[in-house]
Symmetry: C2
Subunit: 346 residues, 2 copies
DNA sequence: CTGAAAGCGCTAACAT
DNA sequence: ATGTTAGCGCTTTCAG
């Protein structure tokens, strides 16, 4: 069991008494080899613990056989689900996935992208956070890019797979208004450069269509971080004791709303109704279970990967692929019957 | 802006009027080059959008510059956190990470591992699910392996980073018993091949030390899946109306316990106390917030990566690295005062 | 400090 | 069906 360096195609060829091309044929499936020879090669390979090197092959074929995936944060439930979708698809297509998190930092995103280019990935999927310029530059060098979940303004030419966020928010607003709510607080995300305000816009638009006036004081935006979300929710709920419902445009915001409501001793949904975008696991666990709009994170990832690897041709034509959302009604929203002042009745 | 193939080191050399070795030196930081020449090279490179190819370099250096990470499921909050830790560390060490999910399937795990070897990763980190044999074989070919969060029986020689699960469970049991509980249900994970029963053993042991008899009927095991967990929890709680507390040995089990308790109209903690291992995000969101043992998932990932890449030397000596857990007391466990029958009082 | 040349492990013509 | 050969893009002696 000597410490010898890993066997190469040459070693196998020698051991099997054939040319290296034959070994290559056996392992790459190309061309044809006699059954007997193949067996001999396979045996020799097994004996030597031979593994074809993707580096050698990649150098020749100019493809690494892997793709890159850039998300803001792998611990975010939505992102994680999306990653799972990409992994699932990549697997069926025989590619591996280099994953990295940019944490909303454009510089970091650019670095990661750079690295992926160096690795000669066959393509990259991203939930972009950053500068359009970086992506435009990358698009020139890199094989191909697909955006998932969000797009960058000014980069409409990059193919993308999105959830129907506007539709989701609309259904939420309609539901809430249908329940009788008029003073609905909106907790949105401060433009992290991305998808700036499609949800907020949908909120305003739907309210308008329903002839419910928009109270500017009730729509607030927070950076996508726990503390910021909490601060925003607390600010809203404390400042305006008259809001009867809160629409959180993301699970972090929803979490904040739930926490703040509890802190303020507001009963849900008796005192305030809460609904959010993103049907994450805990929505069903909290009490009462939270009404939410489910966005197909996994499918988004899967489709994005498919688009990147399989439908190269069809790609990018006809605008972004938009996947439907689904309203999941649970117990966190109540009908507004009479006007009741907030003073805690316990 | 013609569609020309990506520039190589040769193109840059030509454009800069130098030898390719010089270009290499500039980009790999090796050797020394005159300031003027360096500038010329850099300029030419910029002009040509040159990116060194990791494939070419890797072939030469026999290192891909990346590591592999195999987890059971990227959407699991614990795994996700661990992945984040690995990414963080890998980043500081300048390596990228190929991530894949084995979903507890040994065959799939073996495939992934195989692929990673082909990619010539500089090492792999895994939450192993599979056959010790596969890993033993891999260890022979692959540069190096570090196990995280769990180990494989019979593979003690593989370095590993673990959480002090036994200690965590012990503190949970002590806490519960201290509260007066005697009939404590234990929801454990059925050996998925991995870490078989350290938690269950800790449960029994601690109970023993505390002179509380272990009721075999109260310790149940479930496969690590939502439905199985739910079934196990439901079975336990329905079969034994006299359990006063449930100790869930994982967040999936904890989730199941919460759901079942609600379904059965059991008040927490009045009718039954619930505590679990893994302090995931929703623990704080459910009502009442769940008491849990926090395991340092992110640190485990970070340390594992460090061990793999940095401490190659020191590695594997002195057994696994064990990181402490922390009991986070919230509101889901109550003191047992008097014996009260379960019949729902509402 | 810099260039020329020899591969790293593999694939793909091109021969045979 | 199988062997020979020429690189893929890069690092690395070895000279100069």
């Amino acid at each position: 069991m000597a410490e010898r360096r890993t066997a190469t195609i040459k070693d196998v060829a020698a051991a099997a008494g054939v040319g290296i091309a034959t070994v290559s044929r056996v392992f790459s499936g190309t061309g044809s080899v006699g059954a007997a020879t193949r067996e001999r090669v396979l045996a020799a390979a097994r004996e030597l613990d031979y593994r074809p090197s993707a580096l050698g092959r990649g150098l020749k074929t100019r493809r690494s056989g892997g793709i890159g995936l850039i998300v803001p944060d792998v611990t975010d439930p939505f992102c994680a689900e999306l990653v799972a979708g990409v992994l699932a698809c990549a697997r069926t297509l025989g590619e591996h996935v280099i994953v990295d998190a940019a944490h909303g930092d454009p510089a970091r995103e650019a670095e990661i992208l750079d690295r992926l280019v160096e690795q000669r990935v066959d393509g990259v999927i991203a939930l972009p956070a950053g500068r359009a310029a970086d992506w435009r530059a990358a698009a020139r060098v890199c094989s191909s890019v697909v955006f998932a979940d969000r797009v960058l303004p000014g980069l409409e030419e990059v193919p993308s797979v999105l959830a129907d966020d506007a539709g989701g928010v609309r259904s939420l607003v309609e539901y809430l208004v249908g329940l009788g709510h008029r003073r609905i607080g909106f907790l949105g995300a401060a433009a992290a450069g991305a998808a700036p305000g499609v949800r907020e816009r949908a909120f305003r638009d739907t309210l308008g269509q329903l002839r419910v006036p928009v109270d500017e004081d009730l729509v607030v935006a927070a950076r996508p971080a726990r503390d910021a979300a909490y601060a925003a929710a607390a600010g809203l709920l404390q400042r305006r004791a008259d809001v009867t419902a809160v629409l959180a445009a993301g699970h972090l915001l929803g979490e904040a709303a739930v926490l703040v409501a509890r802190e303020l001793d507001l009963r849900v949904p008796a005192d305030v109704s809460i609904a959010m975008v993103d049907d994450v696991a805990w929505a069903e666990l909290c009490d009462p279970p939270l009404t939410a709009v489910a966005r197909p994170a996994r499918d988004i990832g899967y489709r994005a990967c498919e688009l990147l690897l399989r439908d190269r041709a069809r790609r990018g034509r006809g605008g972004p692929v938009v996947l439907p959302t689904e309203l999941v009604v649970r117990g966190s929203c109540g009908a507004l019957r009479a006007a009741r002042p907030r003073p805690g009745v316990r």
